[in-house]
Symmetry: C2
Subunit: 612 residues, 2 copies
């Protein structure tokens, strides 16, 4: 029945041969890879506003300069990734680039930062999306955590089922967002030109903090979240239609221009029109409400923002499981993460991501603002390592124009490194330390896991073993029995068929019980000895282990006695609740109890199925 | 390490031979068996007050008449149990008396009522105890649930450890309660004689309900909870020093007199002094505060009340596991309930009781008043069945004076039956239906469990089997392997030593992997065939089962192939997280998959322990 429900929700299993990737044209590729990058303007704008509003009008007047600095940074980073596309046409994720050029250690740091990032992208995008729609419907404001979790469940199930239509279905929210937001900003600019600039002093709340360098850096740092997702295209080049490199590059340029326009446009309008957000409202919602009034246009914009943010969360569900699988293939994560589920998706990775981001959403009560300090720092660590890796790449290969290319990536590395330091410095106490700490923990875990797998494979190697089998003597068999009944007949039958040395063992729990059992045993199995052991502490396992040790010691033939376990299997699983789980206890104890090296104790399970 | 913590909290295991019962003299026996009965005046008084106060002064003036009716009932019930002691010197619990005289069906009803009762005694006593102490320290009032659960955990652990000192340690709260409460009531009576009766009209809150017959019956019904625990002595006669019957009878009489005095005294004083309880205060607390002021005496009384109620909860921890073990011995409950834990206590029963009463405390938010309607009805069902059983007992045996004895027990049965009907009628909607419903469910569960055990033992019987063993042919062996490595050598070695017919089976999960495995296999095990099966849906279990079915069908020798499972065991349990649990999945699938009747598939587990 459980299986039927699973099939209903997730669909029926798919065979491995259906595993082919569909190539995307530029229009679909933009929709597939850009939601994260485009939608990040929603929370970046919000953070810039929240960072500056505490300093009143003079604070808010810095929004535009900070915005321009971020757009500049965006240009440099985009140019850097433009080069990565050429160098890594097979997909140049930060992990691969850093691993190949800087060594596995830096690769692992990048990988840890990226994994954190994917989790945070999902959590921040969902919470910001819910905030967008709750700005339009304030009644939802207090239910933000629940709604975000609900969306998370939907996205998780959809990904478990496998999204064949990434390029089609997903493109609707993306283009809806673009075709509503761009006209709104154009309309806003037109309005601005007829209306003139609004003096901030007249509308801004009074300053509660002075404008300091720290405040500016801090705001810049949080605003840099606008850049998250820009690396997505360079990870996914093999999904483009040929010529892949050219198409990917064009798409990257288009995306960067759109990002820059949307970000600069909205932040410029916000400042020039003197827009201030209310307490249960995002700054983008305040902007669109000012421009479009309370009409359907406003609701459409809020809905489009939420939809594109939900799709952005979805991109984590593509990236995280794939990166986790690559790490698992390199033996840095449990190998279960490499296994394709029934629907040909990395189901374990998807589940892990859903759990982690759900945990964050609950922990931070569905507030994107609280999550941001954790978010920005990981992104820029990955950026920096990836750009540094590219510099090394050019220095090593010395392809034509390598000097120009290396300097360009060097500039990228330098600016992202500075940004990373600024973010780390200004956001450390607010939460960036959590990211730093978790990255360290993850790197250590990666290395321990690798170490374990190497250990195991060195213990499993056949090298050095003589290529022949050792002849074993006939096994000595011990059969623990709970009484003389139908369930032990098969066990005794089978044991006698493979060995001449069979012994029954009865553990007497309540004094006096053994006599009757012994008499009946002798009546039924006169040729097989039965040993009785008393158990003063009423445990079955301890006297059994003791007996086995003794008999092994007595025989001293380098072989351990084989244990044959008669096990009766109830007709219904819940009948198991009515029986002692002694057989299970014995099995577990025998299996996990390591004796001297070499051949371990063999356990033979002889099931006897009850019919009802 | 877990074991060490367990030993620290619960003590080290005790051998079965230390299982002896200490005999109690009358003073200790009173302390051991009376806490439930004596302490029940705490909540009974409270319920009478709460039932009458809604009808204002004219309601409260009925407290005394209702109290007298209950004391009368107490006398009849005590006299009935006085006779049970003589008839069942081995311990006459309601279950045993009803089972022996009325048949197993009525015995099961009594048993179900008693089990419910034990759970409710624990829950009601603990919550009432916390209410007593929170009446003295109002700051604790909002933490009642948490404190009650904390006490429950303490009592549970103490019982898991085994309370050797039932008669000694437990007697302190009981005698503290008696030696503070009796003087207080005497002092109150003296004060009353000098001061005169207070007119209720002057102090009672205005009536919000009229005095109706239903209100009176309702109050009488809840007040009857004062009788709970009176049967305890008749259950525990073997614990008395000889002459057991005489000593038990004297103790019963003393206890009944104490109960009657405490109950009638406190209810009389409450009414005559015109005492009204505040919103966060029990009526007994209001009484002692009036008599003793806010001095240490008041706090001592509240503390003694809480302590005696906690000890009363503890008596459930003696009764419930013992009754559950008797029922399990009769095969009406899972046999795990009969097994004595490391400390010679019925640990499973104790755990079950703790879970059930903890659940009730949480569900009813630590409010004894909310639990009472569930409580009273079960007690009186057990009383009635037990008295009815005694009537049948006398009719059957016709010992000297059997007519008198039968009439006395008949009177007891009649009055308790009427009380049961009154309680059921007046409290049905408030919660008594839950008890009735659960008793029905429990009786059905008892019978189903018995049925299952009978089924199993009929399937396990050897009757009808020829007393000789069937000679089995040499087994056909299939070894599923995940590759050619050190972990499979022992499995192949062992298989070859017990059979000539051994086949390896490799399930190919990713197309193309099999070739390398096959080549290596042939290099190492040239004499053993390896079969390769592809798994298009990436499952290991399904193709394995398919192969086994096919090969069984091909051979058609009435034998199923034996499966040998090479299993490598990680050095640390958490390493298991890094490996697929394929072997476990295969074992479970094979074990629980029933084929045609007769000999089932044998599973041989060959562990290979990793050293690190």
């Amino acid at each position: 029945m459980l299986n039927k429900i699973k099939t209903l929700i997730l669909g029926s299993p798919l065979p491995t041969r259906s595993l082919t990737e569909k190539r995307l044209n530029k229009v679909r590729a933009l929709a597939a890879f850009s939601p994260d990058a485009l939608s990040s303007i929603a929370y970046a704008n919000q953070e810039i506003f929240l960072g500056l509003v505490v300093a009143g009008a003079s604070g808010l007047s810095l929004a535009m300069p900070i915005g321009i600095a971020i757009v500049l940074l965006l240009t440099i980073v985009a140019a850097s990734y433009f080069q990565t596309i050429e160098a890594y046409p097979g997909g140049g994720g930060s992990y691969v680039v850093a691993r190949d050029n800087l060594g596995s250690f830096f690769g692992l740091i990048a990988a840890a930062a990226l994994l954190m990032d994917y989790v945070l992208t999902a959590a921040v995008s969902l919470t910001a999306g819910v905030e967008a729609i709750a700005s339009a419907y304030p009644i939802l404001w207090s239910l933000r955590t629940e709604i975000a979790l609900f969306l998370l469940v939907i996205i998780t199930l959809a990904n478990m089922r496998g999204l064949k239509e990434t390029g089609t279905l997903m493109s609707i929210p993306v283009y809806l967002f673009l075709f509503t937001f761009i006209p709104m900003i154009v309309f806003g600019l037109f309005k601005l030109s007829t209306q003139g600039v609004q003096e901030l002093g007249a509308v801004a709340p009074p300053a509660v903090k002075p404008v300091t360098l720290f405040l500016i850096l801090h705001t810049f740092a949080t605003g840099c979240t606008a850049l998250t997702g820009i690396e997505a295209i360079s990870n996914g080049i093999p999904s483009f239609q040929p010529p892949e490199i050219k198409n990917a590059r064009i798409t990257l340029v288009v995306m960067a221009i759109l990002m820059g326009f949307l970000f600069a446009g909205s932040i410029g309008l916000t400042q020039s029109l003197g827009i201030i957000a209310g307490p249960q409202q995002t700054i983008l919602a305040a902007l669109s409400q000012r421009l479009l009034g309370d009409g359907p246009g406003f609701y459409l914009i809020q809905f489009a923002t939420m939809a594109v943010l939900a799709v952005a969360a979805n991109t984590s569900f593509a990236g995280f499981p794939r990166l986790a699988a690559i790490l698992a293939q390199d033996r840095y994560l449990p190998r279960q993460l490499t296994s394709l589920g029934d629907r040909l998706v990395f189901a374990n990775g998807i589940g892990l991501l859903a759990l982690a981001s759900g945990f964050l959403i609950v922990l931070f009560r569905g507030e994107s603002h609280a999550l941001i300090p954790l978010f920005a720092v990981g992104v820029f660590i990955a950026f920096t390592l990836s750009q540094l890796g590219m510099v090394v790449h050019w220095l090593r290969l010395r392809t034509p124009h390598w000097q120009v290319k290396a300097s360009l990536n060097g500039l990228g590395a330098l600016t992202t490194a500075i940004t990373m330091i600024v973010i780390g410095y200004s956001k450390m106490l607010e939460g960036a330390w959590i990211t730093f700490f978790l990255i360290c923990v993850l790197v250590i875990v990666f290395m321990r896991i690798k170490h374990h797998y190497q250990d195991v494979s060195s213990q499993l190697t056949l090298r050095g073993l003589p290529p022949s089998l050792r002849p074993l003597p006939s096994p000595r068999i011990v059969i623990p029995v709970s009484g003389v009944h139908r369930g032990i007949i098969d066990a005794i039958d089978f044991s006698s068929s493979i060995s001449k040395d069979v012994t029954g063992l009865y553990i007497e729990l309540n004094p006096g019980e053994a006599e009757k059992v012994k008499a009946e045993w002798e009546r039924w199995f006169p040729n097989i000895p039965l040993v009785v052991r008393a158990s003063p502490f009423r445990s079955v396992v301890a006297p059994l282990l003791e007996f086995l040790d003794e008999t092994d010691f007595e025989h001293n033939d380098g072989q351990m006695a084989v244990v044959v376990l008669p096990e009766f299997i109830p007709a219904r699983w819940w009948h198991g609740l009515l029986h002692n789980q002694t057989t299970w206890l014995i099995k577990t104890a025998l299996l996990y109890r390591r004796r001297h090296l070499g051949f371990q104790r063999v356990i033979i399970d002889i099931p006897y199925h009850l019919r009802r």
